[in-house]
């Protein structure tokens, strides 16, 4: 055997030293534009300067405002599921800024891509790879994980997750992945093989550089975090429901969260396996997916999509849960067809494991196999269809208020159905063979993920923001933003269906058919509308904070809510509930209101035990980031040090007995009685006044029938 062929260290073309591995000053993107001025290096350097300056600005702001201690003790070491959920969603927003910006640059490139756009091929490839990776793993995943974190314990009547410290560790691992992707913007380069990173193109033979390593470690480490989150949610829902909360009395969001958790638990291992095998190929010269010596890249495609297909349902199911809560609340009706919705969710969860091959119909397997998976794919559309009908039936003759969440819901109805139908078209192997790898696919998955998932998340933010922070979001700004999202999406992605059918390949840096040009200019305009929609979110937040006094809803129930989280003040206390509620029916809070006994003072208060703060999340974040960065740049000492410290900590950690923090019954009683006294001083607000300053979070109930 020729040693040089597989050792990654000297001889493989990289100048390596023990201290900094293969990392050199020249890898800093910040300086690239000065050394080699061109439009490509300008864009790359500008992006890294933006990242570095934004980070610096945050550091300076925290220092000037003397907020480091606050950040540390209130947020970073907190194991409160509500704070962890908020941090997840914040991570998603920060990463989304990058994803949207990249999208605009990509659309600009494509608008100029007739016979070659303004960026180099490499740069373009890096853009679509990071855009996909960031949007799926570090925008969509933190969003849904954040929502599940925030809502599950509140909706099932628990005080926290089953494993609060593990929850924090999951967040730490997600942050590690995000940090590695952000570091790749400044140091070195990201991979160029798309968000799926198919070898052998991303293997050591074709791309020995740090890009694919960044991808592998960002994905594997954050993937382990997601898997642990799924485990935590599943156990929480299984074991920590309030007395009387049977499975069939759970809010639909909890059902979708349960199914998503099950998918997380079982679908992430294939990704971890694929990623680690890819790492072994790249770092240790194994032959899983290489071209030579028995390697087989088709194993990678197979493993990746065994994760990848359940993944899209991991992302969309919680959004379905949000839409279910939304329709019932903002139509002031009970959900029509609860049981069928639950069954539909469960069947989606199981069938989503039987369809992964439709992502590679053209790999060369027999028509029989394609047909089998095509049929399974067609079948999975049925439960999704059931859901759309359930939501429509819920809206029927309800008292619908066109608040911001309902605008997103309307956009979802119109656009998501188109996306779903294009999915059914793609499920057919014969048609798929024609349009695979074209812009048609790009149009399809943006069409399901943007109006499906992202609209759901934003609707959810509008619904639950008042719960988390005690004031509503600015209604007018929110509505304008929602319309911008709907218009921006339609302009950007619907034309891609047409160019896809005309034969424009996806991920291609240039096109030769001038017929595509007008469509690409429309999508460029759409991209700018989307950018303004993203800015609209920031403006909405800013306006809401400025007007927080008139938007305040401290009493906790601004929308005449149906589920338990609305039966707490806003923001809810650390321990969620003064006493754990007894559940007597579906839509627990609506039942209480219908029976005329919401907000009763409990007869007896008890001491509440809550888990103490922990540095575990920050610690794991630091160790795993060191491991990931060290392995990417072959800085072995850093990776080994990170791993040893982490292992040593896992060995020693159980020796320290974690005691609970006890909140005395008297404190709980005072807080709860003050809240109930504040409610009794006010008149309930009618639904017509929901968006006026009269809404302080105490609803005059207007439900046609509660249970």
């Amino acid at each position: 055997m020729n040693e040089d062929a597989w050792t990654p260290i000297p001889g493989s073309g990289f100048d390596w030293n023990p201290l900094t591995g293969r990392l050199h000053w020249g890898d800093l993107k910040l300086l690239e534009v000065f050394e080699d001025p061109s439009i490509n290096s300008f864009v790359a350097s500008a992006a890294s300067w933006i990242a570095v300056l934004a980070a610096l600005a945050i550091v300076i702001l925290l220092t000037v405002k003397r907020r480091w201690g606050w950040l540390w003790s209130e947020w970073l070491v907190s194991v409160d599921h509500k704070k962890i959920g908020i941090m997840y969603i914040l991570t998603g927003f920060v990463m989304m800024a990058r994803g949207v910006a990249e999208g605009v640059v990509m659309r600009t490139h494509q608008a100029t891509a007739y016979q070659g756009g303004f960026l180099s091929n490499e740069h373009w490839a890096e853009l679509f790879s990071t855009h996909g990776t960031v949007m799926i793993f570090f925008v969509a995943m933190p969003f849904i994980t954040g929502f599940m974190n925030y809502l599950i314990p509140l909706q099932i009547g628990a005080r926290d997750m089953a494993f609060p410290v593990l929850n924090q560790i999951s967040l730490g691992l997600t942050a590690t992945g995000g940090a590695l992707v952000m570091i790749s913007l400044v140091v070195g380069a990201f991979e160029t093989g798309g968000w799926t990173a198919y070898p052998p193109f991303t293997g050591a033979d074709f791309d020995p550089g740090p890009g694919p390593d960044y991808w592998v470690w960002a994905i594997v480490l954050s993937g382990i975090g997601s898997m642990l989150s799924g485990l935590n949610f599943a156990v929480t829902i299984y074991k920590l429901r309030a007395p009387g909360m049977t499975f069939m009395r759970m809010p639909v969001f909890c059902w979708t969260a349960l199914c998503t958790s099950i998918l997380l638990v079982f679908a992430l291992p294939p990704l971890t396996v694929a990623g680690l095998m890819q790492a072994l190929d790249r770092l240790a010269g194994f032959h899983f997916f290489t071209n030579d010596l028995g390697g087989n890249m088709m194993n990678y495609a197979n493993l990746f999509w065994m994760f990848g297909h359940p993944e899209v349902y991991i992302l969309i199911l919680p959004a379905y849960g949000i839409y279910s809560e939304l329709t019932a609340t903002f139509a002031a009706k009970k959900l029509y067809g609860y049981t069928s919705l639950v069954l539909a969710t469960m069947s989606i969860a199981v069938v989503s494991f039987c369809v992964w091959l439709h992502h590679f119909y053209t790999m060369g397997q027999s028509p029989t196999i394609n047909a089998a998976f095509g049929i399974a794919t067609g079948i999975i559309a049925i439960p999704t269809g059931v859901k759309v009908y359930v939501w429509m039936a819920t809206l029927w003759r309800g008292r619908i208020r066109f608040t911001v969440p309902m605008i997103y819901m309307a956009g979802f109805f119109m656009l998501f159905v188109i996306g779903g139908f294009s999915g059914i078209i793609l499920a057919n192997p014969a048609i798929n063979w024609q349009v695979h790898n074209t812009q048609f696919i790009v149009a399809h998955f943006h069409n399901v993920l943007l109006p499906g998932l992202i609209f759901g998340i934003f609707a959810g933010v509008h619904i639950w923001f008042p719960k988390a922070f005690g004031f509503r979001l600015h209604e007018r700004a929110g509505a304008i933003t929602a319309f911008l999202w709907i218009a921006g999406f339609s302009l950007t992605f619907l034309p891609l269906y047409v160019v896809g059918l005309l034969g424009y390949p996806r991920r291609s840096a240039a096109f030769e058919d001038p017929a595509f040009i007008p469509y690409m200019i429309v999508t460029l305009c759409g991209a700018f509308v989307l950018l303004s929609a993203f800015i609209g979110l920031i403006v909405t937040l800013w306006l809401s904070v400025r007007h927080r006094d008139e938007l305040a809803v401290p009493l906790g129930d601004p929308w005449d809510g149906r589920t338990l989280e609305w039966a707490t003040p806003s923001p809810p206390p650390h321990y969620n509930f003064a006493v754990i509620p007894e559940i007597t029916g579906r839509d627990a809070f609506a039942t209480e209101k219908a029976e005329g006994r919401p907000y009763v003072t409990p007869t007896e208060y008890r001491d509440i035990h809550m888990p103490r703060d922990s540095v575990a999340g920050v610690f794991v974040f630091l160790c795993t980031t060191a491991i990931g960065f060290g392995l990417t740049w072959w800085i072995w000492w850093l990776a080994i040090l990170g791993a040893l410290v982490l292992l040593g900590w896992m060995f020693i950690y159980p020796f320290f007995d974690r005691t609970d923090e006890v909140i005395p019954a008297e404190t709980v009683r005072l807080a709860n009685e003050a809240w109930i006294a504040a409610i009794s001083l006010r008149e309930g607000v009618d639904r017509d006044d929901e968006t006026t300053p009269r809404n302080r979070g105490f609803a005059a109930t207007d439900m046609e029938q509660a249970t």
Binding site: N299, N302, F353, C354, L357, Q365
Partner: protein, 103 residues
Amino acid sequence: MSDASDEERAERRLYSIGLILSVVLTVASFATVTTGILPRGWAIPALIVLALTQIVVHLRVFLHIDLTRQKREDLQLLLFTVLLLAIMGFGTLWIMANLAERM
């Protein structure tokens, strides 16, 4: 607890039976291969059956999986995992064998 020692004895017996069964099944597996007692083509199915039997013995004896009510959640979880693993494992082998054949 007065009946604890009886119960303890019963559990010890169960573990010992589990050990003996495992040893017998393992020896049978090794013997299948080393003695060549079975005709060609039968050895691998026999190994699969013996391994699966041994796994069931381990689950029952050492991991305490049984059909009682308190264990139902563990059992459901295990069966669901096996179902998904069967889909993924069988699917992988089916797809990859077919691709290898058509290459």
